[in-house]
Symmetry: C2
């Protein structure tokens, strides 16, 4: 609980805080006994009982007897998310498609719809409408007795998280787009809307339940058409003063490099974005996730030009990562997005470039890993955003 | 007070926490009335009275009647740092000299010694000895009745703050130097020793009592021979997993640039370090702070070559800052070290490069400013480090 300097906590504040703690534990770890909760929270057994009781009444948790298992004696009840509890409407907007999912407390994807947006103009208003239209479908498919507890949207662009306004999403052609407001206007009443940057949300989800669990200094590199970084330092998301941190795609790696669509030369995106991979592999446009996946497939199959392209991009990615190691000294770097296979196909080239370009100290300890949540990092991060209000204060759920 | 998930605070913990809060307020703001403390801490007047009483007995604070002022009625007592209280031994190691100072609670420099180290080899053992030798001199000169409460040392290199070990300080010729241990062995008994990176300490001091006060997302660029960044994000120092964050000096700005002493080409340090300035201005070595100051002086006086050099470095500095804006989105960037005058002499060139190379969003809100503490930022940051233990738990001061 964030506390002002020296202010005392009131009893109802403490209760809300403790309800939040219990719900957060179950949300992150899925299933815990009362005894485990008692130990983790370092409070009395009766306090835990009462907190679990309240959260059950709020329709957020339930107690079940696990099936299977070969233990001796009476099986312990475990506390789990309530199946009929609120679900997050999680949305991941990519350039040629968007994924809309119902995600339960605990992070399970209960239903998902993939909506192609390739040929039509993807305006913010259209996107907002399609999200809202998808909600009843998701509900019927995955959680018929539940209601949406929040909408969280991942956007490949800069986002002011306070207003849900997209500053610039170059590869969607959006500039200063009030996505949050458009969505809030047509969303079911009382359902809060939050919007975040894709890399920021991906690192959030991986930190909560993926490859960065238990790791408090982590960078997630989102490599799609554009390039962004989601950063958590000291366990806290690094969003920057206006929420624009991590926009490394247009940092210049070489001022005499190729022309970027932004007008500068040698931007990071021109070296390690999906476009760089296709160009180096001599593949035709359009630039899609499938086309990039094909290059990786061919590289694995021994296609020399594809393999050379992957290795070249891996070397440049190593240079970009080196800059982040020097600047941020993270414990772990996750390589995600369309290019996450690069760690499997060309780890040697990537690591050689990191060693060449980064200082020895941050290189010694860093781990380069793939995101455990695979393509769903940003989607599940959007769900975290959607659940944030309920997790911070479970009593608000009662008012919906 | 950092608190584990759900753990309850014990009464003595709360008391220590509150003592720490009162001391921190006075340390930062210098002089406050009991009424002001009561309001800030949102506790009762009698609690504040008792906390101030304890801190007075510990020899950390005192109450005085301010002289002057034209108010009506009985003048209020104000609480200030105790003049005979513990002082910090603050040390700033630069390449050709080191500054050793006695700094009181509240941040006043009570005495200082500047020790030249130019001609002799500056080994860690020698530096440690000179620091310890200086303590009685400082004490006599500035605070004869006081005792050292801690030693804090600023080093232009990477530091493991847990061990006080210097990983690499290239411009001192140090590698894996156990400065903290060497110093602890010969320091007065019971006086804790801490070592930090110069830019990290500079940003700490500027955040506490300089140009970054009240600003929670800030980067301090330390431009001496080498280049480093001290970063505070969300009010918390960004040190990275091993304490090596902010080492941007060897991030490559141009892979076809000049050869750096590290073996790579086009490192940031070769563009915006003191050496770049002297080379561009056509000045002879050795590379000293005075020589760089002379270039600035000549540039102000209209020397074309000096002015051109300053402008060229300003443009490159703008590029380096642009990368930091994209990555970290700070509210304020402080330009410090030997090159801090660059903001006065060539702000236009610097800002033009920032606008050219950074994204619009983080550029719109950022402020580029000079450090209010001038050349003393790192020194005063070292004092913050030295006081950290007493500030976190004033009762430890009683045991000294």
């Amino acid at each position: 609980m964030a506390r002002g300097a020296g202010s005392a906590a009131r009893p109802d504040e403490i209760r809300r805080h403790n309800l939040s703690l219990v719900l957060a534990q179950i949300h992150r770890d899925g299933a815990l006994t009362r005894a485990e909760l008692t130990q983790r929270l370092a409070v009395s057994r009766s306090t835990v009982g009462s907190l679990v009781g309240d959260l059950t009444q709020l329709g957020l948790l339930q107690e079940v007897v696990p099936t299977g298992g070969g233990g001796v004696g009476r099986p312990s009840h475990v506390v789990v998310p309530h199946r009929g509890g609120p679900f997050a409407v999680a949305v991941d907007i990519d350039v040629d498609h968007m994924t809309v999912a119902a995600v339960g407390l605990g992070g399970d994807i209960l239903a998902r719809e993939v909506l192609r947006t390739g040929k039509e103009p993807t305006t913010p208003a259209l996107v907002a409408q399609r999200i809202v239209d998808a909600i009843p479908l998701l509900s019927r498919a995955g959680c018929p007795d539940a209601r949406p507890g929040g909408i969280g949207v991942s956007v490949p662009g800069t986002v002011d998280r306070r207003t849900g306004r997209v500053g610039v999403a170059p590869n969607l052609g959006w500039k200063d787009a009030p996505l949050g407001d458009l969505l809030a206007e047509i969303a079911p009443r009382g359902v809060p809307v939050t919007v975040g940057n894709d890399a920021d949300l991906a690192v959030l989800a991986e930190h909560q339940r993926g490859s960065a669990r238990g790791c408090d200094d982590v960078v997630y590199l989102m490599l799609r058409i554009g390039v962004g970084a989601g950063i958590i330092i000291g366990g806290t998301p690094l969003l920057g003063h206006d929420g624009h941190a991590g926009e490394i795609g247009h940092n210049v790696l070489d001022p005499s490099g190729a022309l970027c669509h932004c007008g500068k030369r040698g931007c990071t995106e021109t070296y390690i974005g999906g476009g760089a991979m296709l160009t180096l592999a001599g593949r035709p446009l359009p630039l899609t996730e499938a086309a990039v996946a094909e290059v990786f497939g061919d590289a694995r199959d021994g296609d020399v030009r594809a393999l050379t392209a992957v290795r070249e991009v891996a070397g440049q990615l190593g240079r970009a990562i080196a800059g982040l190691l020097n600047t941020l000294n993270p414990q772990r770097v996750l390589v995600g997005g369309w290019l996450s296979e690069i760690l499997e196909v060309a780890r040697a080239e990537l690591e050689a470039a990191v060693v060449e370009y980064a200082l020895e100290a941050p290189t010694r300890t860093v781990q380069l890993v793939a995101p455990a949540l695979g393509k769903d990092s940003a989607l599940l991060g959007a769900a975290e955003l959607a659940f944030a209000e309920i997790l911070a204060d479970p009593l608000v759920a009662a008012d919906r």
